[in-house]
Amino acid sequence: MTLQDTVERISRKLESKGITSDPQIIEAKLKRYINEFSVPLTEAERSVMNEFARDYGIDNVISGPSETKKITDLKAGDWATIEGKVVSLSGSNHPSIAQSGIIADETGPIKFVIWVKGPQKRVELDKYYCIESAIVDEYKGALSLKMHSGTTIVPVENDISYIPSFTQIQELKPGVHSVKVKLVQEWEVNHDRMLQTGLIADESGPIKFVIWKEAGAEPLKPDIVYGIYYATVDEYNERLSINISGCMITPLNEEFSPITSRDTTVEGVIVQVSTGSGLVKRCPVEGCKRVLSRQNYCPVHEYQPDFVYDLRIKGWLDDGIKAYDLLVKRKGVEAFTGITLDAAKETAETSPLGMDELYYQIKEKMLGRYVTCTGFLIEGRMVTEQCHPISLKTGDKALMLVELQEGKE
């Protein structure tokens, strides 16, 4: 750090508070501390900055240079200096943002944003920089580094290549992570700008991913283990998803068996089959699929005469300890009741009760029955395609009788 850097930083900090200062005055003040009183530069900077702060009645100014930290040690609200390599640059998607991307050191990556009103210096991909006095911000659990007018960006000579470590999917938190995964499920794309979405998984579990359409973006292929570097994990409705657009993605010469779903199994009794179960009509608009009213009316897309039929059960699954909000999808309903979607359509068309006939038929077959459901369980809600009757295990009887006998002795 040179005297000139310090002068510049002080004048920028003052500028950010709307004060125009004379660099020569700042320099003179600093020199006085350094040369006459043998004060170290950092201490001189703090003193001079404080003096200006007092004179102009400004507060919330960090008077000294901020501490140099490792990226993993950063906390929200820190005023920090870091040194790292720009590993991803995504440009600007907002008029007040000049540049954004990801910077990493040997301890890990963090997102950064350079404000238009911030430092004039721009960064380049794969180059090393010392970022002085940036602010660590937190949004939805993810940290980012904000570079404002008091921040200085200094290129540094370095050629260390930081090897990013992979995070297990189960351990992911909002922020920037690298993962080693396979594509396990591809979902229908429901947005014009979306290239691919679905589930990727490693040996710890799956996560929803998305790739947006942009230059050079390519979809993932099945059966290949990919290393995906510096992807952004977001949280929405308490569920995580990972955005891998613009990430470096390389096929790895490795093999593993991904855990494809966080399936949970619940055994219990179907204690309620709610109205809206059975045969339903769904909105045909792509990505909508909402259930239509009796008048074929979608709450969003209005009248839809070309609806699509579907089978489902809405109800409650209860194991005597806890009641689970249950949604059984078509495959599960078909397997359990033996009523196929086609047969259900025919019944609905010929029965005087119409679609209600299916509700009654399915209710009679499912209500009060012991079932085992395997599917996605979140917040007490089970969504499943696998719903099977439980069969009697006679061993349980013997075990309990033995237990009773032992209790007596």
């Binding site: 204690v271 909402r290 409650w316 005597g320 009641a323 009060g368 009697l392 309990m400 009773l404």
Partner: protein, 189 residues
Amino acid sequence: MMENGRFQRQYVREPARRVFAAEFRDADHQMRGDEKDEKSPTYVLLPTGELCNRIFIVGTLTEKQKQGEQNVIYRARISDPTGTFFIMAGSYQPEAMAQIAKIEPPNFVAVVGKPNVYERDDGQKFVSVRAESVTIVDKETRDLWILETARRTLDRIKGSGQNQDLAANHYRRDPKTYKQMVQEALISL
């Protein structure tokens, strides 16, 4: 995958407890979950120490009776290996009422309902179930229910906690009574 447009609610449904008729018949204490809150749900305290706002039973519908002209109420008896449950369904339970009306005894039925303690004119208390739903089921479901109810009852007898203390204090019964009951139920299988 969350279904589109679904209203996210924080509603916790009361689970349906599993209990044999012999234990259920002994229950005569009903209380609010929160005594100060009039809107709090009411619970029947089982002798083995469980507060239940809802129960699930499977047994044989042995008798049914229609009462009243304008306000029709159906009453029915459901028997299990240990005793009999009394269930009822009135105009506020139209679904259960229609189902009972259709089912001819004897038949295996699964019943989900709300327990209530009533006091008769002579001061004696008795407990019955206001049915939410009644469905015909097969013998295997009945057997599964006996096994599951035996398991849950034994767990309650072994368990300890606030509800167990409450029950021990109120009912002062020898836990052997209910072990005996579970044994009888299991042997009946």
